[in-house]
């Protein structure tokens, strides 16, 4: 197992460095703190890492066993189109998450957690750099209208609100968003990177191993502080309650589920050897992992609240509270966190705009569902544009003014309107134009979809 380093051409490398100065202003602080918080760890380096000796043969799909593609030009047009969309979208997510994390980084409750998130942001920058490297070093002109210059500029010019995936267009409101995002959204990233490790496009497969190594720590950056917050909540420290944690999970989990793409899709990626699993299969495995995380958080709460309990007693208590709905030794069901129903608060995929409640209950009236969401989502999020736009789209769906499919496609997309500096704020918050009838509709799994193949 060995890796080689590669750099972008100087003008692109410098553009990423300038982007970093804008969106990670505390980068120098991270380097200062590095020896104290990460002694013996190699210093951060902005470069692309390529794993040597990845499997040279396509590992799934119709071309299984054939040599992996080393150039996009040898791929089938639709295959290259899917792959290009995935790389571009993944680059968007990497840069997008940094823009989100920086909003509330200063509100971290401990220096350690702040430095962890800061390191994670630097590594996300490197992941974005890695994806730009894939876009720049190959010729994508068969499937991309933009030049390499325009591709890089377009990605670096994206802002929260103009990224490709919904999860990266939502503002953070507190440090709880930072840690829940790492615990839930980075976990989706882990799935996507793991699947792309077998990509039929060899440069993609070579890019995944180092990213996955770094992603393992990103998950810890979320899960470990989250566990500590559950302890604080158990001890009735007033800063964070389990209600806060629950509502933040409710805010992010639906977006995480949608990152897998439409539940009916993913077959094209498997057929072309780009991923080994269809969307629904990967999504259901993710749901099982999040359920484990939630069980674990609850055990952390119970044992912090009742430290004299033995392991088996604590496990029995958790089951009684969660499964039977009992209050046991002062711990009530609302003291613990639960997994929202997978169809709750969805705007893409099969359950999009279906008004499914937190526990899976179905609502008929818009007003009732809006009230239900208000009870289950963080108040700061309710006041933001993302929720406002969702609710407005839902209202129109319920009143028959637009279809759920049309509402699903109302995602902000990038429109460059001026400027050439990659760090310029040259992007406006805009919506897709209404679809022409002949255009593919969201939810059609056989059609290429950006959200079908992305991190």
């Amino acid at each position: 197992m060995s890796t080689r380093e590669a750099l972008l051409p100087a003008r692109y490398h410098n553009a990423v460095e300038r982007w970093r100065e804008t969106f990670i202003p505390d980068f120098d602080y991270l380097l200062e703190q590095w020896p104290q918080h990460f002694p013996k760890d190699p210093q951060f380096k902005l470069c692309a890492y390529r794993e040597c000796q990845v499997c040279p043969h396509i590992e799934c799909g119709q071309d299984k066993g054939k040599p992996k593609h080393v150039r996009a030009a040898t791929m089938a047009p639709e295959q290259a189109h899917h792959l290009f969309g995935a790389i571009r979208a993944q680059a968007s997510t990497e840069f997008g998450s940094i823009q989100q994390h920086r909003l509330t980084l200063a509100r971290a409750t401990s220096e350690e957690e702040q430095v962890w998130v800061l390191r994670m942001m630097a590594e996300e920058l490197r992941h974005g750099y890695q994806m730009l490297h894939l876009l720049v070093e190959d010729d994508w002109s068969a499937v991309a209208e933009d030049s390499a210059d325009d591709l890089v500029e377009g990605i670096l010019a994206m802002q929260t609100g103009s990224h490709i995936l919904g999860a990266f267009n939502i503002d953070f409101d507190s440090f709880l968003d930072n840690v829940v995002f790492c615990a839930l959204i980075d976990r989706v990233g882990k799935y996507q990177l793991t699947m792309q490790k077998i990509s039929a496009y060899k440069p993609m497969a070579e890019s995944m191993p180092q990213m996955l190594r770094e992603e393992a720590f990103h998950l810890a950056t979320g899960v470990v502080p989250l566990r500590r917050l559950m302890v604080s909540a158990a001890k009735d420290e007033i800063y964070v309650t389990t209600t806060d944690v629950q509502q933040t999970i409710n805010k992010w989990l639906p977006r995480g589920l949608e990152m897998f793409g439409d539940e009916r899709g993913g077959g094209t990626n498997v057929r072309y050897g780009l991923k080994p699993k269809k969307n629904a299969e990967a999504q259901s495995e993710y749901v099982a992992e999040v359920q484990k995380l939630i069980d674990d958080l609850n055990m952390r709460f119970i044992r912090a609240r009742l430290p004299k309990l033995k392991l088996a007693e604590a496990e029995a208590l958790r089951r009684r509270v969660i499964e039977e709905g009992e209050t046991v030794q002062g711990i009530a069901p609302e003291d613990l966190v639960r997994m929202p129903h997978p169809e709750f608060f969805r705007r893409r995929g099969v359950p999009a705009f279906q008004m499914v409640g937190f526990a899976g209950e179905r609502f008929q009236r818009f007003r009732d569902y809006a009230h239900h969401l208000r009870q289950h989502l963080p108040s700061a999020y309710l006041a933001g544009r993302d929720f406002r736009d969702y609710l407005e789209s839902l209202r129109q769906v319920v009143h028959g003014q637009i279809s759920a499919v049309e509402a699903s496609r109302r995602m902000p997309t990038l429109r460059r309107v001026a400027g050439s500096c990659p760090c310029s704020r040259a992007v406006r918050w805009v919506r897709d134009e209404p679809l022409e009838p002949s255009q593919p509709q969201a939810g059609e799994p056989s059609q290429p979809q950006t959200a079908d193949a992305v991190t």
Partner: protein
């Protein structure tokens, strides 16, 4: 790493396994130490996540092993694989869980360029020493010394 011969499946440790590792440690040692494992697992996932492994039986975590490749320890300049923590749930001892974990770990160490693997074993824990000897480990000349500063 994902094969499941003997019903034991070895995979990379994930943060959602912190609770399971804490549980196994508690079952072995009788102490509940979640903070210790949050910190240590955070460390190993940062340093070398592929050298942080768990073994599952029927979907439940039955054991774990933590290690890393380092150079420069105690004057040993060559890259050396260090096995630093091993835990097997008492209910699953004798089912080759430790052996499967060690095999996967050694394979990873080789891939990372290590030609030697080392560990430290408390002589009072004869079962652990026997475990490593059955894997082909031999006593080394490097002997630990300790002095209390209390």
């Amino acid at each position: 790493m994902d094969d499941s011969t003997d019903g034991v499946r070895v995979r990379a440790l994930d943060t959602i396994d912190i609770g399971a590792v804490t549980r196994i440690d508690e079952r072995i040692g009788g102490r509940y130490r979640p903070e210790v494992w949050e910190r240590r697992i955070g460390y190993y996932l940062r340093r070398d996540p592929e050298a942080a492994l768990v073994a599952e039986i029927d979907g439940e975590v039955a054991g774990f092993m933590l290690g890393e490749v380092r150079a420069g320890e105690f004057g040993l300049e060559e890259p050396t694989g260090w096995i630093e923590v091993l835990g097997v749930d008492p209910d699953h001892q004798g089912k080759a869980v430790g052996r499967r974990l060690a095999e996967a770990m050694l394979e990873h160490f080789r891939a990372r360029g290590a030609r030697t693997v080392r560990t430290l074993v408390d002589e009072t824990m004869g079962d652990v020493a026997g475990f490593f000897e059955r894997l082909g480990f031999e006593p080394a000349t490097l002997k630990p010394y300790v002095k209390s500063l209390a």
